[in-house]
Amino acid sequence: MKPAVRIQQEDFSQDEEIRALQASSKRMGGIATFLGCARDFSEGREVSEISFDAYGSMALSELDRLRSDAIEKFGLLDARIVHRIGTVKGGENIVFIAAGAEHRVAALEACRWMIDELKQRVPIWKKEITPQGEAWVTPHP
């Protein structure tokens, strides 16, 4: 089975990740997921692709810590996080987060918390590549 936290260039399968999460416990009554995708339009411009840079070793350890923190904070049974780096075209997957808990509320809240925290503390940067040129993305609040 693939590790629960990964940073990778290749696309991922949501079905595989959910199956892996479900396989971790039969007490799981609710699974919440978040899928982040590359938009082909941003700030009034067409975006052909997005390029990611990361402080790889730190980003992976921060994601690991984020998963552990979420499991503890929300009493999850398990959680998985996969983030792509390299170049991602418009419409393709960027990040997948899944939280599994006994009940839906913890799963939903943990999923929202993990993507918000990821944006605050994981050293990954995205650059939008447009027909007019390239620009690093200024984070949204």
């Binding site: 402080y55 944006k119 503390r121 990954i124 940067w125």
Partner: protein, 79 residues
């Protein structure tokens, strides 16, 4: 030697993804930042976070050991 890493928008403004600063006993993270910010003021305008040996650091008075790896980073935009 202190190894300094740059990523994304900071690396682009510096034109390189790493630098080295000579180690001296008592050197602190702030000293490394000051030295590099004087060389690359445009890049350091967007630096919001620092890390030492792969961990976030908020206290810039952190003393550094020889062969430390530090990073000065812009706001993150993953996800």
């Amino acid at each position: 030697m202190i190894r300094v890493l740059f990523f994304g928008p900071v690396a682009e403004r510096i034109g390189n993804n790493q630098a080295a600063v000579a180690f001296r006993p008592g050197i602190r993270l702030q000293d490394v930042r000051d030295e590099l910010a004087a060389q690359y003021p445009q890049a350091f305008e967007i630096v919001c976070f620092a890390a030492a040996n792969g961990e976030h650091v908020r206290d810039m008075s952190l003393p550094l050991a020889d062969n430390s790896e530090v990073a000065f980073m812009a706001r993150f935009s993953g996800g």
